[in-house]
Amino acid sequence: MTMHPIGEDDLQGLVDERLDAARRREVEAYLDAHPEARMRTARMVALRAEMRAAFAPIATEPVPARLNLARMVEARRRPVRPTWQAMAAGLLLLIGGAGGWGLREVVSPIPTGIEALAQSASMNYAVYAPDHTRPVELAAANRDELAGWFSSRLKRPVGVPDLSGSGYHLMGGRLVATPQGPAGLLMYDDGHGARFVMLMRPMNVPGDAPMRPHTTETSNGYAWIQDGLGYSLVGTAVDTVLHPLADAIRRATAKNI
């Protein structure tokens, strides 16, 4: 009887219990004749068992609340929108049953609430972040003037968060137009040419909305609403950079306002 020669993959397969019974017998026979390979395999088997035992307890821990999937889905589903529209959407859902959800686009062809905020922020990021001539209108040196300008046009006190603690410095800002009226746009950079913007504008409805990610083909962002003021942070950085930064801003603005 001819047999495929035993290779390294067979030894790994034996360790991981991935061999079929026939092949396992062949490999075992090989190991009987090769004590060194037998010893090495035994060590690999022991290592595997040790690693599995070491990490197993993590998977049996209770999953923290912030990783609750239902809550995440719910947070994404609940855009802040004018009440009549929510009612209309609800009615359609009621009439249409599960299929009614598809009509969401029909009810609000133009984004509203936090979606509109996120869209405005992404658009302004795309226009101003790559600008080398005049990315900001008022430079960071005029921080107080910037805050005063935004506060008067947004008709509420608006702070200019300091992110130097996170390694990002304020370049400055400008007032920009959105379908919902004026918004303040701040621009920061990380000292290595990576820029991101934060757009702020008052929302139609008071209150808070949880932070949620939004993406376009060229940028990532996080948007949230705090006390009726909408914020959206946009950049090309990955979520693992943007998300903590958005959290830092939210903490800073919660203190200042």
Binding site: E8, D9, L11, Q12, V15, D16, R18, R40, R43, M44, L47, R48, E50, M51, R52, A54, F55, P57, I58, A59, T60, E61, V63, P64, R66, L67, L69, A70, M72, V73, R76, R212, P213, T215, V238, D239, T240, V241, H243, P244
Partner: protein
């Protein structure tokens, strides 16, 4: 939507375990899983309908982890091994098993990143060689060779524990 909850939900404990094995810090690891889940929820419709949810999620998580680990290296951030080893001790250890555990974690930290992920996905997460290749976007042959090298290296590191333990630790810290 229900489909998504049904497929993703049961995988969360394993995703947490893989994230923690890679990053060590439990808070960082859960941050990463949170980002991964938010992405998965947001991009669920872009997933190939016949694709495997598990490899898809592990791939998202792995890519986020790699990005973060590279940023850590760039910024020179490192974690004190003293803290992280304790954080991983889910069960109160006897002194001897605690040391053994610490040696295991130290050896794991000393592996090149690409060997460590293969070893963890195959050994701890129980992914098949083909699934591991999918997650890491590498050929199965590469999975096999990295697995073999990772195991030999781990055994070598752990059997040389007496000389490895106190003197080399500061050096190993910087690798992360």
């Amino acid at each position: 939507m229900m489909d998504m909850m049904r497929l993703i939900g049961p995988l969360i404990p394993a995703l947490r375990r893989y994230a923690r094995a890679l990053l060590r810090n439990p808070t960082d690891a859960d941050d990463l899983v949170q980002d991964c889940l938010e992405r998965a929820v947001g991009h669920w419709h872009q997933r190939q309908a016949d694709g495997d949810a598990r490899t898809w999620l592990f791939a998202i998580l792995h890519n986020l982890a790699v990005t973060q680990m590279r940023q850590r290296v760039r910024r020179g951030a490192h974690m004190p091994i003293e803290d992280t080893a304790e954080a991983n001790l889910a069960v109160a250890p006897t002194q001897e098993s605690g040391l053994r555990h610490r040696d295991l974690m130290t050896a794991l930290d000393a592996l090149p990143e690409e060997q460590r992920s293969v070893l963890l996905l195959v050994t701890v997460e129980g992914l098949s060689y083909a699934e591991t290749a999918d997650v890491l976007a590498i050929p199965t042959g590469t999975v096999m060779s990295r697995l073999s090298r990772a195991r030999d290296r781990m055994i070598q590191l752990m059997e040389g524990t007496e000389t490895l333990a106190p003197t080399k630790r500061p050096l190993l810290r910087r690798i992360k």
